[in-house]
């Protein structure tokens, strides 16, 4: 079977804001689409439309061949949604939340309990299962929210900024969770503001800006379009930073940026092979590195190369206003 998620010309206007301005999307069975974009780009609006929570002004969308407006109930039976903000009952325990959703999905009581227990186990929440959700940490809440979207064993899973606001450890745990879903065969659409995240999890990436898809492709294609990566090296003995900088300059052919305080040496690179060369040279010169890495271009850099403007300069104030509006209004 072909495309599990298919959207054509989705448009949505909120007062003055054109939140979506003609979005087309296709996601093939069993793959992960990463929707990447800054705040206010229209990611949440698109997800809410695909998940039947919001009607498009124009355009249409299908999930597994069912129209999200006319056959919303059918679509709801097939999807799992983890929204940008946790959709849990804070007063109930983790277990009660899952059992309640199971019952709403017409599972018999025993089956609802069993499935809740299974998911709590799988998402490493068994210990906290009988505590009120309001006592959960951000990462636990996220995992419970994802677990809640899994009770109907959905074919299609929507995750709206699943790791925003999480510390690195919690982020890692959520990533693992998502990778597990994919291994189990779900089709996933996830939104994120981090290129790194889309790169780690997605088969294809659609870059959103101002309610439009401004680029899409595999992570490799996008990175190639976004241009150069950055080499980051730091000597474990700070006094050898100068020597390190000389090596980096020689191998990359660029003048590296040297931070005296941290000893961090960075330089743009075009050929990822440079990393290997640097490691080899360090070895030869007996220079021990505390840190050697190739850093992906940031979302800002991707944007700059795709649109000619950065996310921060042109859209930061808009995004802040949008965020405020969003928080002020009822979702």
């Amino acid at each position: 079977m072909g495309q599990v998620i298919r959207a054509e010309g989705l448009r949505k206007r909120f007062g003055e804001t054109q939140a979506l301005d003609g979005v087309d999307l296709e996601v093939a069975q069993g793959t992960v689409l990463g929707v990447l974009g800054p705040n206010g780009a229209g990611k949440t609006t698109a997800v809410r439309m695909l998940a039947t929570l919001l009607r498009p002004d124009e355009g249409r969308a299908e999930i597994c061949g069912f129209d999200v407006v006319r056959e919303a109930t059918r679509v709801r039976a097939l999807i799992g949604l983890t929204g940008q903000y946790a959709s849990l009952d804070e007063e109930l325990t983790g277990r009660e939340n899952l059992v309640m959703i199971g019952r709403l999905l017409d599972l018999p009581r025993a089956e609802a309990r069993a499935r809740a227990a299974g998911l709590l186990e799988r998402f490493r929440l068994s210990d906290a299962a009988n505590r009120a959700v309001k006592t959960f940490s951000g990462g636990m809440r996220r995992r419970l929210d994802i677990a809640a979207s899994m009770i109907n064993r959905p074919r299609v899973v929507f995750l709206d900024e699943p790791t925003t606001g999480l510390d690195p450890r919690a982020r890692g745990e959520v990533w693992e969770t998502i990778q597990e879903l994919v291994r189990d065969g779900a089709t996933v659409l996830l939104t994120t503001q981090y290129l790194e995240e889309a790169d780690a999890l997605a088969d294809r990436i659609a870059v959103f800006d101002h309610g439009r898809v401004i680029a899409d492709g595999t992570p490799a294609q996008l990175k190639a379009r976004a241009g150069r990566q950055t080499l980051v090296v730091r000597a474990s003995e700070v006094f050898r930073t100068e020597q390190l900088a000389a090596i980096v300059a020689e191998l990359t052919g660029e003048r590296p940026d040297v931070r005296a305080e941290t000893g961090l040496v960075t330089a743009p690179v075009t050929d990822p092979g440079v990393l290997r060369a640097v490691v080899q040279r360090l070895d030869e010169t007996d220079l021990v590195a505390a840190e050697v890495a190739l850093r992906l271009p940031s979302l800002d850099e991707v944007f700059l190369s795709l649109t000619g403007h950065t996310t921060s300069t042109q859209t930061a104030s808009e995004a802040a206003a949008a965020q405020q509006q969003l928080e002020g209004s009822v979702r």
Binding site: L53, R74, L81, L88, L92, M100, L104, R155
Partner: protein
């Protein structure tokens, strides 16, 4: 749909497009259970409905008792059925506020994304709030009885009386739900709900069985006011005396209120998506 996705998928049958009435009732009960579970975790939320009947009963009995009926004991027989009606109304007021707050939280997004009827979360909230109603009724009758109130009719009529007030309470809940959905913030819900509840409960026969001393316009209002009909039905059913048409007027009002407010509430709920 013959593709296998996650282990043991939702069955390879077409998911249903419509949700049967039976499933909607079941979903509503599950959602009512949500409210009850919340109360079980924080019973202090019932503090207002626990104290309210005690305060009202004591205040009104001793402030008005002597003046209206000559002595407090005689007044209690009039007052208690009136307070049963009024407190039932008051106990719906928290519903709108809670719903308004709930809607800002994410959990309603979850309900919207599930294959359940749109009305189930609202119906569930109303049914779950029955706990507050029961609390008020139990405290009010227990305190009233302790202060000397005596049921003057047979148990069946008493039961019918409480049944009637529950039916009217459920209908009246939809006004609170509607206000909760219309109001921009939880704080405004309270104020708006008062606008409905005050004239209804005070401009009625709740505190005085004899309304002939009121100015003409007010007396006219008390005659149509459903709360008067409810109170008069309760006086007959709990204490004794002829019921007249009051029960039918009360039921007709209950149906009328639901017929108007339920569709408005549903439209508002859909709009707030």
């Amino acid at each position: 749909m013959t593709t296998t996705t996650m282990a043991g998928t939702v069955a390879d049958v077409l998911p249903p497009t419509r949700i049967s009435a039976r499933r909607t009732v079941r979903h509503s009960l599950t959602l009512a259970w949500r409210n009850i579970a919340q109360l079980r975790h924080s019973p202090e939320k019932l503090l207002d409905v626990t104290l309210m009947p005690l305060v009202f009963l004591t205040l009104f009995l001793y402030v008005f008792g002597g003046a209206v009926a000559g002595n407090t004991h005689a007044y209690l027989q009039q007052l208690l059925p009136g307070l049963v009606a009024q407190m039932a109304m008051f106990s719906t007021m928290g519903l709108g506020t809670a719903l308004n707050e709930d809607l800002r939280k994410g959990v309603f997004d979850r309900f919207r994304s599930l294959p359940i009827a749109r009305s189930a979360p609202l119906v569930g909230t109303v049914l779950g709030d029955t706990v507050r109603f029961l609390t008020v009724m139990v405290i009010l009758t227990a305190a009233g009885t302790a202060m000397g109130f005596r049921f003057g009719s047979d148990p069946l009529r008493v039961l019918a009386g409480f049944g009637l007030v529950y039916v009217f309470y459920l209908a009246f809940s939809w006004i609170s739900v509607m206000v909760g959905l219309l109001a921009p913030s939880p704080e405004t819900v309270q104020g708006l709900a008062f606008l409905f509840v005050m004239p209804l409960t005070f401009g009625s026969s709740v505190f005085v069985a004899d309304t002939s001393t009121m100015p003409g316009w007010l007396e006219a209002w008390t005659k149509v006011n459903p709360v008067s009909h409810l109170t008069d039905s309760l006086r007959a059913l709990l204490v004794g005396g002829p019921v007249g048409n009051h029960v039918w007027f009360t039921l007709a009002w209950a149906i009328g209120i639901v017929t108007v407010t339920f569709p408005i509430a549903m439209v508002m709920y859909k709009r707030r998506a």
